[in-house]
């Protein structure tokens, strides 16, 4: 097997695993049962989505996906912090 075949199949498999992880997180987000469970699911969804973008960047061999992954991580962090803060006090900005 050439290096290219190994990389293509192996990274594709890893990407599939991450997408499955995203599906599981989305299930927890939709299912609840409580608000904190949904936020936890959203956080996990962001995390695995970011890792999937990194692996996709490896498959295409381009460095462009690095910025996308970094921004996904930042948006996920901000969203989770804002939602958790809302859960705690009922107001995001105080």
């Amino acid at each position: 097997m050439s290096a290219n075949t190994v990389l293509d199949w192996g990274l594709g498999f890893a990407q599939g695993m991450l997408v499955l992880a995203m599906a599981l997180a989305a299930w927890r987000m939709l299912r609840g049962p409580r608000a904190q469970d949904r936020i936890l699911g959203l956080d996990t969804l962001y995390l695995n989505g970011m890792l999937a973008v990194v692996v996709h960047g490896m498959r295409t061999g381009s460095g462009l996906y690095f910025e996308a992954a970094l921004i996904l991580g930042m948006i996920g962090f901000t969203a989770t912090v804002a939602l958790a803060k809302f859960l705690m006090q009922g107001e995001v900005i105080q």
Partner: protein, 113 residues
């Protein structure tokens, strides 16, 4: 994909790191489904945020370094960023959950400190 000039062992190493990392991440997401209470479930995603993330980023740095023929450590920044932010999100979430559980006097609410 332009990994044709890569040695085969390097490709296997990159793939192994990525798959083991993705496996940890998947296990963490599976824990979200499998564990029973909220406080148990908060532990699950840290698997992906620590070792899963580290292995995938190592694999990415290794591949990019081999392709470009120089040391590319850019992805380590994602690792640093995640390491610093994950405690903040989980801490806030756990505190919010604890406060809600205490207010509602749930049986599995954490004790007062």
């Amino acid at each position: 994909m332009n990994g044709a000039e890569l040695p085969v062992w390097a490709a296997w190493l990159v793939v192994a790191l990525a798959i083991v990392g993705a496996g940890f991440s998947l296990t963490g997401a599976f824990g979200l489904i499998r564990l029973r209470t909220f406080y148990e479930r908060v532990h699950a995603p840290t698997l992906g945020a620590t070792l899963g993330m580290a292995l995938i980023l190592m694999s990415s740095m290794l591949l990019l370094s081999l392709i470009e023929g120089r040391l590319v450590l850019r992805d380590a920044l994602i690792g640093v960023f995640l390491t610093v932010t994950t405690p903040v999100t989980l801490l806030l979430l756990a505190r919010a959950a604890a406060q809600r559980d205490r207010q509602e006097r749930n049986p599995d609410a954490p004790p007062e400190v």
